[in-house]
């Protein structure tokens, strides 16, 4: 049976198990004179038997599937004669690929070594066998588990607690998925970064003032010696983020104040979703808006004023990024301003303060920690933003703080380093991971601080 069919079959068996468990508990209830004499409701008994039936069998299925390919490969390899036995991982992969293609008929068998043809035939046989074995085993475990669960039932059985416990475990599993993914990303980036730092000293990376990652691929090639000073990239990132925040913080904050304090419910119900649409626009769309509309506009305006402006400027990217971030700040600030208790407003108004005095002197100070938290989250978002800067900021790693000049950012460099055909052991490619690691640490730090600040703010009012 195929795996998908097998899973369906297991589900059907679990459903049957639920039914039998449910029926048996009803039987107990009849003997004892009512469901209230059972420890748990009949559905819990049914659920428990179903779990006994489904859970071990599905677990077994996944474990077997995880090891199936490895075991089959090992068995195939043992049958292959010494002269074509692979000596490296690359060769091994090629060989396995060839056998696979032979078995599926994608590769014609003409002129192929008979040993390989044998292996291809064996692969088909082994796969078939393992499929049957797995089906039988899973069914057996499901049936056995279900019967065990059904047989061990009694009226005093604490079925409700057992089911609760399993669901708790299941929820925990789902929650830990995100954590393990983060951990996995971090580890993969760290490993590659370590390889990078074996080739380039960490001090050069952190403090070097020149970024030019071109390295010679062949020894005879004339190419840049490669310099990996990340300072221009981080400076560029900070410059663009700074420009973005000077746009987004005032605009976001003011619109939040307007929405929370002045706007009537009609205006609010229209403006707030409209603002939040800004957050839903794909960043690539912002990217070409920046590259095709804003950047030429800035260039032309600058030129007419006698300034030298490049077509791809930090200003254009920063401005558009700022607009993109407005809804983050306005939405978060709106929430914290609304969370300031009404009694605080009343207290100030009752003292004869005007509305704007109340906002400036009472509401904003009270909401400040939350606003700061929101701004920090927005900063980490600006630092990590890629698409807009790829399209609008340029690639030249200039060490400058002139917003009219072309700068490049960490994320842009990561993209350009990894796009196209790459050697995965050259310092050039590996530097992308080091940059990624730095970026990860910076945004992680910012997020941590932001969450701490927001949490502190919440404690103040709850």
């Amino acid at each position: 049976m195929q795996t998908s069919n097998l899973i369906i079959a297991l589900l059907v068996m679990s459903a049957l198990a639920y039914f039998f468990g449910y029926q048996r508990s009803r039987g107990f209830a009849r003997q004892l004179g009512g469901v209230s004499n059972l420890h748990s409701l009949p559905t819990y008994y049914g659920m428990r038997v179903a779990l006994w039936c489904g859970l071990p069998s599905v677990l077994l299925l996944f474990v077997c599937l995880a090891f199936e390919e490895t075991i089959i490969s090992k068995m195939l390899l043992s049958g292959i004669p010494d002269e074509i036995r692979p000596t490296s991982i690359a060769e091994y992969n090629l060989l396995m690929n060839k056998i696979e293609n032979l078995a599926s008929g994608a590769l014609s068998s003409e002129g192929v070594k008979p040993a390989l043809l044998d292996a291809a035939a064996a692969l088909g046989y082994l796969r078939d066998m393992s499929q049957r074995l797995l089906t039988g085993l899973a069914m057996l475990v499901a049936g056995g588990g279900g019967f065990w669960g059904w047989w061990r039932m009694s009226a005093q059985l604490r079925a409700r607690q057992q089911v609760e416990k399993i669901f708790k475990g299941f929820l925990l599993l789902c929650a830990s998925l995100a954590i393990f993914t983060t951990l996995g990303i971090l580890l993969s980036v760290i490993f590659e970064s370590v390889r990078f730092f074996q080739q380039v000293p960490i001090s050069e990376f952190l403090f070097g003032l020149e970024w030019s990652p071109q390295t010679a691929i062949r020894p005879d090639q004339v190419g840049g010696s490669g310099s990996f000073g990340a300072v221009p990239l981080f400076l560029g990132t900070m410059l663009i983020s700074f420009i973005a925040m000077t746009v987004a913080v005032p605009a976001g904050l003011m619109s939040a104040i307007y929405l929370a304090e002045y706007a009537g419910s009609k205006v609010r119900s229209f403006v707030k979703p409209a603002l939040e649409i800004l957050a839903g626009v794909p960043t690539v769309v912002y990217g070409y808006f920046a590259a095709l509309t804003v950047a030429p506009l800035i260039r032309d305006t600058g030129t007419s004023m006698g300034l030298s402006v490049t077509s791809e400027s930090a200003l254009a990217a920063g401005l558009v990024m700022g607009i993109m971030i407005i809804p983050f700040i306005s939405s978060l600030a709106d929430d914290v301003i609304n969370a300031v208790p009404q009694t605080m407003r009343d207290g100030s108004l009752a003292l004869g303060a005007t509305h704007s005095e109340t906002i400036k002197q009472v509401i904003i100070p009270a909401a400040l920690p939350g606003i700061v938290g929101g701004v920090l989250l927005a900063v980490s978002r600006a630092i990590g933003e890629t698409m807009i800067v790829v399209m609008a900021a340029g690639l030249a790693a200039n060490l400058t703080v002139n917003p009219l000049d072309t700068v490049t950012t960490v994320t842009v460099q990561i993209v350009t380093l990894l796009v196209g055909d790459q050697e995965f052991d050259s310092a050039k490619t590996l530097s992308a991971f080091a940059l990624g690691l730095m970026l990860f640490l910076v945004t992680l730090g910012l997020n941590y601080i932001a969450l701490r600040v927001v949490k502190k703010y919440r404690e103040q009012y709850e």
């Binding site: 419910s265 208790p341 009694t343 605080m344 407003r345 009343d346 207290g347 100030s348 108004l349 009752a350 003292l351 004869g352 303060a353 005007t354 005095e357 002197q361 009472v362 100070p365 009270a366 103040q460």
Partner: protein
């Protein structure tokens, strides 16, 4: 179980019989003496609507100078709503409409010439829940004087803050920690801080909306003493759920029922020989 049901039914039928007796429930005119000579606040034919719902019905009431008047009545009877019409705090409520005549001495509270900011500087308010700003103790009290430009210099401001805190009976407790946050004080201290904040701008009237309902008995006693002291200089309107409190602190007591002003009389008279049956029923605890 059955005893409880019977008890409930008994109460219900008692209330029903109470409702069915017309001379007891229909409030024609306010009994007692709601009007005084040369009042601080004069309300005539006052009605308040929240949307389509009328919360207060044609109330006539005067509040005298340097008088403490208590407003009592069951929940939802309109006493807090009436209180908030005096400093126009109802303006901030959506769909709230006020009709009738309200005078603060000679000035029309709802007149076009009245500046609501100035009105609230003359009519201070203390709320049910202590609501100090998230600022230092000093800044909490200095907030009003700063807004209204009452202090010409830092020294004057210090004086105003010190005097306000002294009059609110808080100075001795906080004089060494004026720069600490006001939210760090105990509930009773916070409420006295709010009173200090209210008197810092020298209002003529202080409105108190159940100022002790969130406080323990000792803090309550302290606030009640304070009200008696403040009455020498201010007109005080206090809404309270505690009849003992009304009896202890006020000169006159007004009893509200379902948006109508039922009886206004000397406090002693209200609590010993009330004129209206509804008042009697309320103060003897027949409903509330």
């Amino acid at each position: 179980m059955s005893a409880l049901t019977m008890n409930l039914t008994a109460t219900a039928s008692e209330e029903n019989s109470f409702d069915s007796a017309p001379e007891q429930t229909v409030v024609e005119d306010t009994v007692g003496f709601p009007l005084v000579d040369d009042p601080k606040i004069r309300a005539r034919n006052a009605s308040v609507f929240y949307g389509d719902k009328q919360a207060i019905f044609n109330i006539d009431l005067d509040i005298g100078k340097h008088e403490v008047i208590a407003m009592i009545g069951p929940s939802g009877c309109g006493k807090s709503t009436f209180l908030r019409t005096i400093n126009r705090m109802n303006d901030t409520v959506d769909g709230c409409r006020v009709s009738g005549e309200f005078l603060l001495e000679e000035d029309n509270i709802y007149g076009s010439k009245m500046d609501v900011v100035e009105l609230r500087a003359r009519v201070g308010m203390v709320f049910q829940k202590p609501n100090p700003f998230p600022k230092s103790i000093f800044d909490n009290v200095a907030y009003g004087p700063k807004i209204h430009g009452l202090a010409g210099s830092r020294v004057e401001l210090d004086e105003i803050v010190e005097n306000s805190l002294k009059r609110a009976g808080l100075w001795a407790e906080v004089k060494d920690r004026l720069q600490q946050p006001g939210t760090g004080l105990s509930g009773g201290q916070q409420q006295r801080l709010c009173i200090a904040r209210a008197i810092s701008i020298s209002p003529e009237v202080i409105l108190m909306d159940e100022p002790c309902s969130a406080l323990d008995p000792i803090a309550t006693a302290r606030i009640e003493e304070l009200i008696a002291e403040l009455a020498e200089n201010y007109t005080i309107v206090i809404v309270t759920h505690s009849m003992q409190q009304a009896a202890r602190v006020s000169h006159r007591t007004a009893y509200f029922h379902l948006g109508k002003l039922v009886e206004v009389n000397e406090t002693e008279k209200v609590f010993t020989t009330p004129e209206h049956k509804l008042t009697e029923a309320y103060i003897t605890g027949r409903f509330g």
